[in-house]
């Protein structure tokens, strides 16, 4: 159990997927201008990442490793993720429209979110067990969401500040992301 706590802390804070591993930056900068969209995206990523983490783990162990086809990992993972996202989108739209209204619009963005693919690959490279992979996927996603929401909070204010013209928008967004990453150094070495 303490191992899992350590894993969770490590994935959320210490090795934060966005700020320490540089994954998932496009949506990070894209949807963080408003708190609402940031929260929506965070939720969507958590949802999909847990599913994707589990499925890719199964595919890897029972399909690729079993047949010695590790070199097809990239190909199969992206296929699985893309179709998973599409499936989830269709499913939600039909079955749980309420949830779809909240998350659905963020789902397509996730296909090209390198955080999802990245976490799936990390799960395999770190040779996590299935439970570990699940926990790690969830925690990484939470870390992604946390960073995204914190960032959105900061960014909402920066949009209102008198940032010099050439720095406005993405430029200052990146610098702010750097500051966020700097702050996350607080957790360095804790696990």
């Amino acid at each position: 159990m303490p191992d899992y706590i350590l894993l969770i802390v490590a994935c959320i804070f210490v090795n934060n997927i966005l700020l320490m591993q540089y994954l998932g930056n496009c949506p990070f900068l894209g949807v963080s201008k408003k708190m609402e969209t940031a929260v929506g995206m965070a939720m969507a990523v958590i949802f999909v990442l847990v599913l994707a983490g589990a499925i890719t783990w199964i595919v890897d162990i029972y399909l690729l490793k079993a047949f010695g086809l590790e070199y097809l990992r990239t190909l199969s993972f992206i296929l699985v993720i893309a179709s998973l996202v599409q499936f989830v989108e269709m499913f939600l739209r039909k079955s749980i429209p309420g949830l779809y209204a909240g998350l659905g619009i963020f789902l397509p963005l996730i296909t090209t979110n390198c955080a999802v693919m990245g976490v799936c690959l990390i799960n395999i490279m770190e040779e996590y067990s299935f439970t570990q992979a699940l926990v790690a996927s969830f925690s990484y996603a939470v870390g992604f969401g946390l960073a995204l929401v914190l960032f959105a909070g900061v960014r909402e204010r920066i949009i209102l500040a008198r940032v010099p013209k050439p720095l406005q928008d993405t430029s200052i967004g990146l610098v702010t992301a750097g500051m966020l990453s700097l702050a996350f150094f607080a957790f360095k070495g804790m696990v």
């Binding site: 496009c26 949506p27 894209g30 949807v31 201008k33 969209t37 929506g40 995206m41 595919v59 399909l63 690729l64 047949f67 010695g68 086809l69 070199y71 097809l72 190909l75 199969s76 296929l79 699985v80 179709s83 599409q86 499936f87 269709m90 499913f91 739209r93 039909k94 079955s95 619009i105 963020f106 789902l107 397509p108 963005l109 296909t111 090209t112």
Partner: protein, 685 residues
């Protein structure tokens, strides 16, 4: 090798099956438009548009919340594709750009207090309408500059906004945020059909010019040595600058603020100076012309009004044809005004300039003889305008004489009608007669019509009941005679079929209480208007006509701008002095022609002619100055002529020997202009 093949194949099969099933099971209807837009978008879901993914952007585009060009990755191709789906064909629209309308900044204008507060005009306006005494002046705090999303605005040195016309996209943000409505979107077409309103900065001369030339504007261009630009400004309101330069009575000069200290600026000679310049260069300066809209307009009458109308119609993208009864264009200008006053080469030059904009002409054709209202519609004209001016309304009446046929049967001027009756001519008034008149003569006429077989006579008066002659008020006896009086009513339109009148549209101008204005049409075979001239009718095709017979074309008139907005006068309002036959000077017919253009343009572009709110007119009280300070007095420049002894002397009058100003005098004279605003003017100390 094989295993790789198989595994991937298997994965593909599995995914394919799952997704195919899912798309069946979880099928949800989506607006096909959204799908089409989504198809057009790249589908990379990069989030570059600021929205989460392409499909949400598609939804936003369809909902009108995002623009067709919102996709960063796609570029212009995708934009075009999306625009196509959305049906917002990128039409050839005349570009509009922002233009500030205040010329005296905060430092130069008079202020009523020292403002301390937010650097925002709207905030300053909170405090008693802003610190300037001029209620419509630019406060110069740069709200528009900050609001401009394209960085096309900046604050000039005199605290007035400056538009970079290259970067301005005409989005209108500045217009929305400006609390003083200083900055407005404007295009050449807008300026042509525009009228001055009270919350607009206009100089006294400009307000007094019947056709509304931007006088300080063109004088400024003369100062800037830019004569062509000056001419372009003049031509936005007056297509005959040189003719006006010769014969205009120049009411503008009466209003010139310089009159308060010395002598008015020689506005008309300055106008003539630039027009002379054009004539000397032997080419016509053709200002901006809007892209073609294709409607064909027949303009009946090639006098000053018809020429003006055709010129502006052409510049707004229409396809006008002048139908002139005389062998040459020009009307009164050519056939009435003495050559001494207006040399014919000047006239020819100006008419040439008008024709160069694409106006077609047919001379020696007469309405009622060579063509009729219905034949014109059959020839494919979309509108027919009567600008027959002072000459020949009678031709309509006298059907059987001189081989003329009536073009609009049933339309008479009262004087002619009575004259014909007195001459014993046979006139058939039909079943129903409408007389537009305020006097008791209408009763006589009505009785005559009844005798000639009319069943019902309606007298229309725009006056209130108690303002009418007493005979017209006691209506019961008249009604017994079959004569009905409608007071407080105006005729707002005619409807007809082929060449005959069928109905008359009426409007109640003084409704009782707050009820909506009553609109009605009544049947009429004959419409008799008070003495005067036939109004400038604009006839357009109309589907909305009772039972036209096979092959006949229904028509109706549109309300024109002949009456001032807000006033309750119809197109056939009985004459008061200077009302219908009001073209006491050529400039007035120019105004009339230009306003007809506005009516026609509005009819074809937005389907209804909208009156302008707060139009500046003589009765309006707007800020004005009664004395000027800090202006050095100077003499008005006059043209010089060389007399027989070779001495130069000042010319006073008579065009023939009245040369225009020479360039040096013109430049001096332009400098005399105070460049007035509403209450500001250039101080010279």
């Amino acid at each position: 090798m094989v295993s790789g093949f198989l595994v991937m194949g298997g994965l593909g099969v599995a995914i394919g099956v799952v997704l195919a099933l899912a798309s069946k099971v979880f099928y949800v209807y989506v607006d096909p438009k959204i799908e089409a837009v989504e198809d057009a978008l790249p589908g990379a879901n990069c989030g570059g548009c600021g929205l989460p993914g392409c499909s949400s952007n598609a939804v936003a585009i369809v909902a009108g919340k995002a623009s067709a060009s919102s996709c960063v990755v796609g570029g212009p191709d995708v934009t075009a594709e999306v625009a196509e789906v959305m049906g917002v064909a990128i039409t050839l629209q005349e570009p509009e750009i922002a233009a500030p309308g205040c010329s005296y900044g905060y430092q130069e204008a008079d202020v009523k207090y020292l403002y301390q507060g937010i650097n925002d005009c709207r905030a300053a306006t909170l405090l008693d309408g802003g610190s300037k005494i001029c209620t419509i002046g630019c406060l110069g705090l740069g709200t528009c500059v900050n609001a401009c999303p394209f960085g096309a605005l900046s604050m000039g040195p005199d605290n007035l906004p400056v538009v970079d016309t290259e970067t301005c996209t005409g989005c209108g943000t500045c217009e929305r945020v400006c609390p003083k409505h200083i900055i407005t979107l404007t295009s050449t077409s807008d300026r042509i059909i525009g009228e001055y309103v009270t919350d607009e900065c206009t100089a006294p001369c400009q307000r007094n010019c019947p056709t509304g030339i931007n006088i300080p504007g063109f004088i400024q261009e003369i100062s800037n040595n830019n004569y062509e630009a000056a001419l372009a400004i003049i031509k936005e309101k007056c297509p005959l600058p040189l003719i006006c330069g010769y014969i205009c009575p120049a009411p503008c000069e009466l209003a010139c603020r310089r009159n308060l200290i010395d002598e008015a600026v020689a506005i008309n000679p300055l106008k003539r100076f630039v027009a002379d310049y054009e004539m000397e260069t032997e080419k016509h300066i053709t200002p901006y012309k809007a892209p073609g809209s294709g409607q064909k307009i027949a303009v009946v009458g090639g006098g000053a009004e018809g020429l003006t109308l055709s010129y502006y119609l052409a510049r707004l993208g229409y396809d006008p044809t002048i139908l002139e009864a005389k062998p040459q264009l020009g009307g009164i200008l050519r056939y009435v005004i003495a050559e001494d006053r207006l040399p014919r080469k000047v006239l020819d030059h100006e008419i040439e300039g008008i024709l160069e904009t694409g106006v077609q002409t047919k001379n020696n054709v007469v309405m009622g003889r060579d063509f009729h209202l219905d034949t014109l519609f059959q020839e494919g004209y979309d509108a027919v305008v009567l600008t027959k001016g002072g000459f020949d309304s009678r031709k309509i009446l006298q059907p059987d004489q001189k081989g003329y046929d009536s073009s609009v049967k049933g339309l008479y001027i009262m004087l002619d009608f009575l004259y014909a009756l007195a001459n014993g001519e046979k006139v058939d008034p039909g079943q129903r007669v409408v007389i537009v008149h305020n006097g008791i003569e209408a009763i006589d006429l009505g009785r005559k019509c009844r005798k000639m077989g009319a069943q019902k006579v309606t007298i229309i008066s725009n006056l209130k009941s108690h303002e009418l002659p007493i005979e017209l008020q006691g209506s019961e006896d008249l009604e017994a005679e079959g004569i009905y009086v409608k007071h407080s009513t105006v005729v707002t339109g005619l409807k007809g079929i082929s060449s005959r009148l069928v109905r008359v549209a009426l409007e109640d101008t003084h409704p009782i209480g707050e009820l909506p204005e009553e609109k009605a049409t009544i049947r009429a075979d004959t419409l008799i208007l008070s003495a005067g001239r036939l109004p400038e009718f604009v006839f357009v095709r109309s589907e909305d006509q009772p039972e036209p017979e096979e092959g006949e074309i229904g028509w109706e008139t549109i309300e024109t701008f002949r009456t001032f907005p807000g006033s309750k006068e119809g197109i056939c309002t009985p004459p008061e002095p200077g009302r219908i036959s009001d073209s006491s000077a050529v400039v007035k017919s120019l105004l009339s022609g230009r306003r007809l253009t506005r009516a026609i343009h509005q009819h074809f572009s937005s389907d209804s002619v909208t009156p302008i709110q707060d139009l500046v007119c003589e009765t309006d009280t707007i800020l004005n100055v009664t004395e000027v300070h800090e202006v050095i007095s100077s003499n008005r420049e006059r043209p010089h002529i060389i007399d027989v002894e070779g001495n130069s002397k000042t010319a006073w009058i008579f065009p023939d020997e009245y040369p225009g100003l020479n360039e040096a005098s013109a430049r001096n004279e332009a400098e005399r202009c105070l460049k007035c605003g509403l209450i500001c003017y250039r101080k010279q100390k």
